[in-house]
């Protein structure tokens, strides 16, 4: 009996100001900061470690943020769980896949882009639509990756935070979707 009580089920902690639709799939130990909007059909999966998402992020439909096991390691062997941190004011557009362990602020990952596990996004980076970035590097600030050949350039100003869009969504989404509320600690079904 006592063993059962010490084992804590991984919970999803959703901060007070966040709007997380109930149709989204969130599994594992995930923390979502205030003013973040998670659209329906978005998936945030923390398999191989916890995910911490900051505030003001916009995660659109069919986006997949996954902290998964690296490909050449079987899930049985002992791997130290690494935390995936996502900063503030990031935008994960429709259909993107992000496995990057560290994402800074004000980044935009456009539709159907694929960011690998060993990429570290700093601030103001824009990964263009359908670009697959699976190198092992730190992307410098204000970099834009675009085109079918993943060309790069540096822009002079970082992308603006989507405050207008976030405000609009936080008003409209609750009218059409049920929202997920955080499970308070200590409320285990006994």
């Amino acid at each position: 009996c006592k063993d059962k009580n010490t084992f804590k089920l991984p919970t999803v902690k959703i901060a007070a100001g966040a709007v997380v639709c109930v149709e989204s799939e969130i599994r594992g130990d995930v923390t979502i900061g205030p003013r973040t909007v998670v659209h329906p059909k978005a998936r945030i999966i923390a398999e191989a470690g916890p995910i911490v998402i900051g505030e003001g992020n916009l995660i659109e439909e069919q986006a997949l943020i996954i902290n998964g096991y690296p490909e050449n390691i079987t899930p049985d062997s002992e791997v130290e769980p690494k935390t995936m941190t996502i900063g503030m004011n990031n935008v994960f557009e429709v259909g993107c896949v992000s496995q990057a362990l560290k994402i800074g602020d004000n980044n935009v990952i456009e539709s159907k882009a694929d960011v690998g596990r060993n990429v570290i996004l700093t601030s103001g980076c824009i990964i263009g639509a359908f670009c697959q970035v699976n190198t092992c590097e730190v992307i410098p600030e204000n970099t834009v990756i675009y085109g079918s050949g993943c060309m790069r350039r540096v822009q002079t100003e970082r992308p603006q935070p989507q405050t207008l869009q976030l405000d609009f969504l936080m008003k409209i989404l609750p009218n059409y979707h049920h929202l997920k509320k955080t499970v308070k600690a200590g409320h285990h079904a006994s």
């Binding site: 675009y146 060309m151 002079t156």
Partner: protein
């Protein structure tokens, strides 16, 4: 299987200036010569110019003046996408009261694809949405214009001398502007390789005007060249700052090496072209003038005159074993068409790719006309063609499926290619109806046309 419907599976031979094989969807049919034409044996002419993003039409003279570029639209110098104008609100002092600030709209150009903005190269925000953006001027403009004027004058003089020689040979009194009247559209004026360039001559002064003698200074060769900077070898290269070759060559005036000097250029105009048969000078394809319309005024494409052969199903092909291939034949015209197939004879000069022997049905195939209202007409009786079930597999409005027997002759890995001749009757509705003396002759006579068709059936089954 959709792969059997790929356009390169069935090709028709075009007997033009050079023999080409192309799928029927890419060919044109000159109904005055009664022959297939491909893009290589027709002459292409410019019909009209238009901008691809704002769809604005431009007459050819204006296009030439603006160097074939649109006045309103810009191209991103970084990724060549179309630039869009964005507005921001900036606080600006009111003209009446310098102490108060009001929000004014400032416009800048931005690219949606690579996120380039006009602020990246230091272009200030403009207060008007369009018309405020200027291209930087080429420093060599004056010299180039002077050279062009000089050579225009030279070309004009040469042309006059040529006309004088032509007039001296013919003793008739022809107008002086003989070679100027015909533009580059007719065959007489088409550029022969190696001949004098007459395009400049058309732009010069009118006849009879006194021509000023324009003289140019020859270009001066410089002995000293600007030396390279001293830190040329030691300075670290910042790759985002260096322009790619493509970005550089799109601006041949400046060819900037640094990304901070890449200014946007006006968008290139696209053109609509019309095609003309070289033998009879009739138009084969003439698009509409309006850039937003995709229709054609004249559209003599081959698929609307020639029956089309398509592969329907292929069994396993084995070396030296006879197999039956199912083909379909579609009739594009509204009258009944009779089609006869014939295998290529031994030593046929057109049959260079065939790798299999083919046995085609010997009887004549009859195709019903294309009737658009047939599906709605319930009272129509189905036409009864006596079809041999060994030859004709099925019949559906203007399409029939028929069998051919294929015996692959080569055992290599390449695709089995089969060729045969198709002979059908063609009624030329375009020809003028000549009043006949007998009075009872039919207005349109059928002409029998023969085409050489090649089919690529795929590899041998292993």
């Amino acid at each position: 299987m959709a792969s059997l419907l790929q356009p390169d599976r069935v090709v028709y031979l075009v007997r033009g200036e050079k023999k080409l094989r192309a799928s029927l969807s890419q060919l044109y049919f000159c109904r005055y010569c009664s022959e297939l034409r491909s893009l290589e044996c027709v002459s292409h002419e410019v019909d009209s110019h238009y901008c691809p993003s704002c769809l604005e039409n431009m007459p050819s003279a204006e296009a030439k003046l603006k160097k074939n570029r649109c006045a309103n639209c810009f191209d991103c110098p970084c990724c060549m996408h179309t630039l869009s104008t964005r507005a921001t609100n900036i606080p600006a002092p009111l003209p009446d009261d310098p102490t108060k600030t009001a929000m004014k709209k400032a416009y800048y150009l931005a690219c949606g694809f690579c996120r380039w903005t006009s602020r990246d190269v230091g272009m200030a925000d403009k207060s008007v949405a369009s018309g405020g953006w200027q291209e930087p001027e080429n420093p060599h403009n004056q010299r180039i214009n002077k050279l062009i004027e000089y050579y225009q004058q030279l070309a004009h003089r040469e042309k006059q001398e040529r006309d004088r020689k032509k007039l001296a040979r013919r003793r008739q009194c022809m107008p002086l502007a003989f070679s100027e009247k015909y533009g580059l559209g007719t065959r007489l004026q088409r550029q022969r390789p190696g001949g004098p360039i007459s395009s400049l001559a058309g732009l010069s002064l009118k006849e009879g005007e006194d021509q000023k003698e324009i003289s140019i200074e020859p270009a001066q060769a410089l002995d000293e060249v600007e030396p390279l900077p001293e830190d040329c070898y030691t300075r670290t290269i910042s790759l985002p700052e260096v322009t790619t070759l493509r970005q550089r060559l799109l601006q041949p005036d400046f060819q900037p090496a640094g990304a901070s000097q890449l200014h946007p250029r006006h968008k290139h105009l696209l053109m609509k072209r019309s095609l003309r048969c070289r033998k009879c000078e009739h138009n084969l394809s003439k698009p509409e003038f309006n850039p937003t319309s995709i229709k054609f005024k004249i559209q003599l494409v081959a698929v609307s005159y020639i029956p089309e052969v398509r592969i329907m199903s292929i069994p396993n092909l084995r070396y030296m074993k006879e197999s039956q291939v199912l083909l379909t034949l579609t009739n594009p015209v509204e009258s009944i068409t009779h089609v006869t197939l014939a295998a290529c004879e031994e030593g046929d000069p057109d049959d260079i790719n065939g790798t299999a022997k083919v046995i085609v049905p010997t009887k004549e195939l009859v195709l019903a006309g294309k009737d658009a209202a047939a599906e709605y007409d319930e009272l129509a009786e189905p036409q009864d063609f006596q079809d041999d079930p060994d030859v004709v597999a099925f019949r559906k409005s203007n399409k029939i499926g028929f069998f051919i027997k294929v015996i692959p002759q080569k055992e290599e890995d390449a695709d089995v290619v089969v060729s045969f001749k198709i002979r059908h009757d063609f009624r030329n509705l375009a020809a003028p109806i000549r009043p006949s003396e007998e009075g009872a002759e039919t207005a349109t006579e059928g002409v029998w046309l023969t085409h050489h068709v090649e089919l690529r059936l795929g590899p041998l089954a292993s």
